[in-house]
């Protein structure tokens, strides 16, 4: 009985500590939006991540029930050439921000299982290096949008 109480207490303590220590728990997302393109073409998703924690949070990618595949990408323009490459991680510094914005880091969403229209809200599970996730609602915007809008 004593042993059981102790183990329950320990389990509770560990679970509590883990919940507060996850990377996702310290991250707040704002201005999340998706640029929706016609004909189910790959779409770019953008968001600003604020890390209130004392340690860096490392974004690894995202999952979505709507898009079959989500990849973390980075666009660059050097020497007059536009390129896009897959990246493994984006660090959100401790007490800092990381921005996924057009022309830089973004999530590439492909193969929508249902049509996504401007005005829709699409939930993405942002995934961090420690396995924690941050559910974030992205607002779908038209192709010619330049930001999340209001």
């Amino acid at each position: 009985m004593k042993w059981l109480a102790l183990s329950l207490l320990l389990t509770g303590l560990l679970a509590g500590t883990a919940a507060h220590a996850t990377e996702a728990a310290h991250v707040r997302a704002s201005g999340a939006w998706i640029r929706v393109l016609p004909a189910a073409l790959p779409a770019g998703a953008y968001v600003t991540l604020h890390n209130g924690g004392d340690r860096p949070a490392v974004l690894r990618g995202a999952r979505s029930a709507v898009y079959a595949e989500v990849m973390l990408h980075q666009s660059s323009s050097t020497g007059g050439m536009s390129r896009m490459r897959m990246v493994d991680a984006l660090v959100v510094p401790a007490h800092g921000t990381a921005t996924l914005a057009p022309g830089g880091y973004h999530l590439m969403l492909t193969q929508p299982k249902q049509p996504v229209q401007p005005g829709d809200t699409v939930r993405l599970q942002l995934q961090f290096a420690d396995g924690s996730t941050l559910p974030t609602d992205f607002i779908a915007r038209p192709a010619d949008a330049l930001g999340a809008g209001r």
């Binding site: 073409l41 990408h73 536009s82 973004h106 590439m108």
Partner: protein
């Protein structure tokens, strides 16, 4: 002593000739088309005129000559490009909106560097999602390569993923042509909308006056 006095006198006719030449050049310059005070990189005379044979987004064969009379914004990209191409086209849309009715004299020509996937139908849906004055163009790989090279650009297909998806790296420049099809301005996606609006106004105005 004598040669020392003669030298300035001998130079005088030469100075007069040079002065007359400079004056006549200046006057001559004024009589020809005054160079436009463009803000972005002026490529007048440094890039060839607009010329191509491609298929438009209605599936119709078109040539560069079909766009004479319009100020053309030429940009290379592909529809499976989710980030930089839409960003550039969205910027160009804002720029044309800012020109108001003048923009009817302009056309965005979006040339696909991914003809394997970019059919006229997909290009049609894509460009019209940005601006009604945008035209999607595709063609054979050879025709597209020739056009890209004509403007000193390049593109290359990157290694694909397991599911067959792939990206295409491509020149990011936007080339502006006047109504006569002459190359006039080289812009980049990072140039300000103000500068693009400024230069397009000059090109649209200059063309209308002639």
């Amino acid at each position: 002593m004598m040669p020392g006095r003669l030298r300035p006198l001998a130079l005088l006719p030469l100075l007069l000739v040079v002065g007359l030449l400079v004056t006549s050049l200046l006057l001559g310059g004024c009589q020809r088309v005054a160079p436009l005070p463009l803000r972005l990189t002026n490529i007048t005379g440094h890039m060839p005129a607009l010329d191509f044979r491609l298929i438009d987004d209605h599936g119709k064969p078109v040539t560069g000559a079909d766009y004479r009379g319009k100020v053309v914004l030429l940009y290379f990209g592909y529809t499976h490009c989710p980030d930089v191409c839409p960003l550039t086209l969205a910027h160009l849309h804002v720029v044309l909106q800012r020109l108001g009715p003048l923009a009817d004299g302009a056309r965005i020509l979006f040339v696909s560097v991914d003809p394997a996937r970019d059919t006229p139908a997909i290009l049609h849906a894509y460009v019209n999602a940005f601006d009604p004055r945008a035209v999607g163009l595709t063609g054979t790989p050879g025709e597209i390569e020739a056009l890209v090279k004509r403007y000193r650009g390049s593109f290359s297909r990157e290694p694909g993923t397991a599911d067959g998806n792939y990206e295409v790296s491509h020149s990011s420049a936007i080339y502006l042509f006047d109504r006569e099809g002459n190359a006039r301005v080289l812009a980049t996606p990072s140039d300000s909308q103000d500068d693009l609006v400024h230069d397009l106004k000059l090109l649209l105005g200059a063309g209308a006056a002639s």
